[in-house]
């Protein structure tokens, strides 16, 4: 019965669909192959002493370390702490950044005045400001989140504000003919038509938030993946450093995928 509802495709089309699937499979296969080869050569060259496991660790050592960390119950605590901080930093960065962008859009004069300051803030290595931040908000989690924020905030402000400025003037004109207030223009045109810009800012932000949290954890932390990296470096535990980096990569990728899926949700009207 159900079969009757299926659209019948020509043979050519089925070949085409098969080719598409094949290609997709090949891509995923190659991606996995690269991963496997990468870890395999890492292990082998380390065993053959071509590379120095003291410096770059080696997969089996990392797995051993992973098991150890898991057994004493710390693994998930560190991962959780870092993810938690990253998510907070990310959400706050996006929110506050968008609010600032709205403010700059609203007061053009202000945006002109602040432009060079934004440029400078953007170019400043925030890590240099770490001590100042710690001095202000103490050395707890807030400091980490603020450092993460600093790293993503300015980029968000600049790119979202640029997005706002690119909104089609004529759409704004249309709303003006309806007698819309400035706030209504913001709500009905500027914000919704900037959703794509905001989402691409989000995608950049995810990455920056991770970097920010890790840098923050370098400066002040007793737990989290960044702490493990610093601490591992201090006690020459490269297994710890490398394992943390790899866990970090996986977490960052998962979070990126989640944000990218937002795109499908909010930009449904595009397809």
């Amino acid at each position: 019965m159900l079969n009757e509802n299926k659209i019948e495709y020509s043979k050519e089309h089925e070949i085409f669909l098969k080719n598409v699937k094949k290609r997709k499979a090949l891509i995923i296969f190659t991606q996995i192959l690269i991963l496997v080869l990468f870890f395999a050569q890492w292990e082998i060259t380390a065993r053959l002493k071509i590379i120095d496991p003291f410096l770059v660790s080696q997969p089996t050592r990392m797995i051993k370390f992973l098991i150890k960390l898991y057994q004493n119950g710390e693994l998930f605590r560190h991962i959780f702490v870092t993810c938690y901080e990253t998510i907070i930093g990310f959400v706050l960065g996006t929110l506050i950044g968008t609010i600032f962008a709205v403010i700059l859009w609203w007061w053009d004069f202000l945006s002109k005045v602040l432009e060079p300051y934004l440029v400078v803030l953007n170019a400043l290595p925030k890590i240099a400001l770490g001590p100042i931040i710690i001095f202000w908000v103490g050395n707890g989690r807030p400091a980490i989140i603020i450092i993460a924020l600093m790293i993503s905030l300015i980029v968000t402000i600049i790119s979202v504000h640029a997005g706002f400025k690119e909104v089609d003037e004529d759409k704004i004109k249309l709303l003006k003919t309806f007698g819309a207030t400035k706030f209504q223009i913001l709500r009905y045109v500027v914000l919704p038509s900037s959703v794509p810009t905001i989402i691409s800012a989000l995608k950049i932000n995810v990455g920056l938030s991770w970097v920010g949290v890790i840098v923050g954890e370098f400066l002040v932390a007793k737990e989290g993946l960044g702490f493990l990296i610093v601490f591992g470096g201090q006690v020459a535990q490269l297994d710890m450093v490398m394992l943390s980096i790899i866990i970090l990569s996986i977490a960052a990728y998962i979070m990126y995928i989640l944000v990218a899926s937002l795109e499908n949700k909010f930009l449904g009207w595009k397809n």
């Binding site: 089609d168 004529d170 759409k171 004109k173 249309l174 709303l175 003006k176 003919t177 309806f178 007698g179 819309a180 209504q184 009905y188 045109v189 919704p192 038509s193 959703v195 009207w269 595009k270």
Partner: protein, 255 residues
């Protein structure tokens, strides 16, 4: 009865590169229920003039009166429709159509009933939950018109409303929209580049000069035909004469 009066309108645009005189001492009266077309060379100031009427551009001097009242900011009595439809891609057709009402906080039963009625009448009912990109150019343009009419304006300003459509669609849609507008008894000022379109739709055609826009000539368009429709009048004997007259007035030669 005079619905709209433009008195001594001049517009000068100032930019860092210099100043552009777009309109100079333009006087025009538009009668209630009249369909008026503006034609003129590219860049002469036609859109500027509509913007002045709509209260979007402040004239450097001169005044606009509607029903003998001066207006200085966008008025509820005016509906403006642009060359492109400017439907918001992220809203469904229905939500696009009620956008103006939503902004003016007039989303009440009467107005919504009116919207439903127009959707029905102009064949968009079954598409109201579609997104704009799922509709053809002609349907989008009709949706834009309903969005404008939903606010129930007395005066419609149309700035080359069909220019983005292809030839056949254009003929059909203009026929369509002409009927809609005449049904509702609106006063219309329309800008077009297409002389046949101007002749076939309007009661009067205003020919503007090169920039700065001044009125070069005003032609009353009258056909011997009964039950005038835009497509029908193209067959009328007077059509070609009006066409040629305007063609000459415009003094067209390309560069």
């Amino acid at each position: 009865m005079i619905k709209l009066r433009a008195k001594d309108i001049s517009v000068i645009y100032h930019t860092l590169d210099g100043e552009t005189e777009a309109i100079k001492n333009l006087n025009l009266d538009v009668k209630e229920g009249e369909f008026l077309c503006l034609v003129g060379p590219s860049g002469c100031g036609k859109s500027t003039f509509l913007n002045v009427i709509a209260g979007l551009v402040k004239p450097s001097s001169g005044k606009i009166f509607i029903d003998n009242e001066e207006i200085t900011k966008p008025s509820n009595k005016i509906g403006y429709m642009f060359q492109r439809d400017y439907l918001f891609e992220w809203r469904t057709i229905y939500k696009n159509i009620v956008l103006g009402l939503e902004i003016q906080k007039r989303l009440n039963g009467d107005n919504l009933k009116m919207v439903e009625y127009m959707l029905q009448k102009y064949g968009l009912s079954s598409f109201k939950n579609y997104y704009p990109r799922q509709l053809s150019g002609g349907m989008r343009q009709r949706a834009a018109l309903i969005r404008t009419l939903a606010l129930n304006p007395d005066i419609l300003l149309l700035d080359e409303p069909f220019a983005a459509l292809d030839y056949q669609t254009r003929l059909a849609v203009s026929d369509d929209i002409y009927r809609i507008i005449k049904n509702e008894g609106k006063t219309v000022i329309m800008v077009t580049h297409d002389i046949s379109e101007a002749v076939s739709l309007s009661d009067r055609v205003v020919v503007l000069s090169k920039r700065p826009a001044r009125i070069k000539d005003i032609l009353e368009i009258k056909f011997s035909i009964k039950d005038r429709t835009p497509i029908k009048v193209r067959e009328a004997p007077e059509f070609k004469d009006y066409f040629n007259l305007i063609w000459k007035e415009l003094d067209i030669h390309v560069e």
